[in-house]
Symmetry: C2
Subunit: 153 residues, 2 copies
Amino acid sequence: MVEGEPGLRVVHQLRAITVELDLLGAEFAQRNGLHPTDVRALICLLDAARADTLATPGWLGRQLGLNSAGTTALVDRLERLGHVRRTRDSRDRRRVLLEVDDQAVALGQSFFGPLITEVVAATRAFSGTELATVERFLQNVREAVAEQRDPSA
Amino acid sequence: MVEGEPGLRVVHQLRAITVELDLLGAEFAQRNGLHPTDVRALICLLDAARADTLATPGWLGRQLGLNSAGTTALVDRLERLGHVRRTRDSRDRRRVLLEVDDQAVALGQSFFGPLITEVVAATRAFSGTELATVERFLQNVREAVAEQRDPSA
DNA sequence: CATAGTATCTCGCTCGGCGAGATACTTGCT
DNA sequence: AGCAAGTATCTCGCCGAGCGAGATACTATG
């Protein structure tokens, strides 16, 4: 718990935050009649939409580590709930494009909105340079974790 | 992606890290023949052991948001794999105490070890005061998330 | 135009997790 | 003491997310 090495403490904190965020996500999921995976899928889809990356079932499945069968089931659920629409790609007619509904965007807002407010409020206690440091650090961590997952970086 | 408000960027990063860590955990789980929940359970149990909190199925289930049936099944799995032992509490003989096996500790090490090494390496680029800032910030975030989950803080 | 390659979907199955209720023990009331 | 109420854990039956294997529809290449 009270280790000397600062790196350990930070890892500990990140892990704790991850667990907390997971549980928050699970809670939110249940309240809205969906599963943790569905929430993660919505996050991915919203990110894709924001980055103007066009999303397909295959891409989504790859993001979430699902196989094709699971992905189809996932998209079925999301479509049934009206969060996503399927449209055939006219260029490559094997592909299906996933369009996120405004409803899903609103849902995302309702999930992250309060949390963002909280965290932004928490940032009030930090100077611009301090926040820049935090950002830089988180970026490093993100890369470290990504490298752990796929040791080809 | 390129928002102006630093708080938003940080939230974004934290979310991305959470997703990455989740996927890392899922990968690790599968490689070791267990489920994401099992990994989270082991984390909780190791934390408890480190903090000298004595763990029971009920406590564990509460940590993970499982009901009693699911918790029993979880502990069954962990026990079958030899990560955990059940012992009756002699004071209150309704209770079962969960003892983590050294094997599970080693497993935890093998999971977090490389990641910790990576992150600690990443901290090399930061001064002591900078790390302190990061730590303080993460602490705030952790509290913010916890408050989101249980608005009674 | 056949053959290989790719994107998605269907089918049958496994197993994690839930709700309801059983069981064993403790605690409080009288 | 003795009985009701409360609590910790487990059992049973079921639902449904995700997997493996294979079907289907389309594209690309010789």
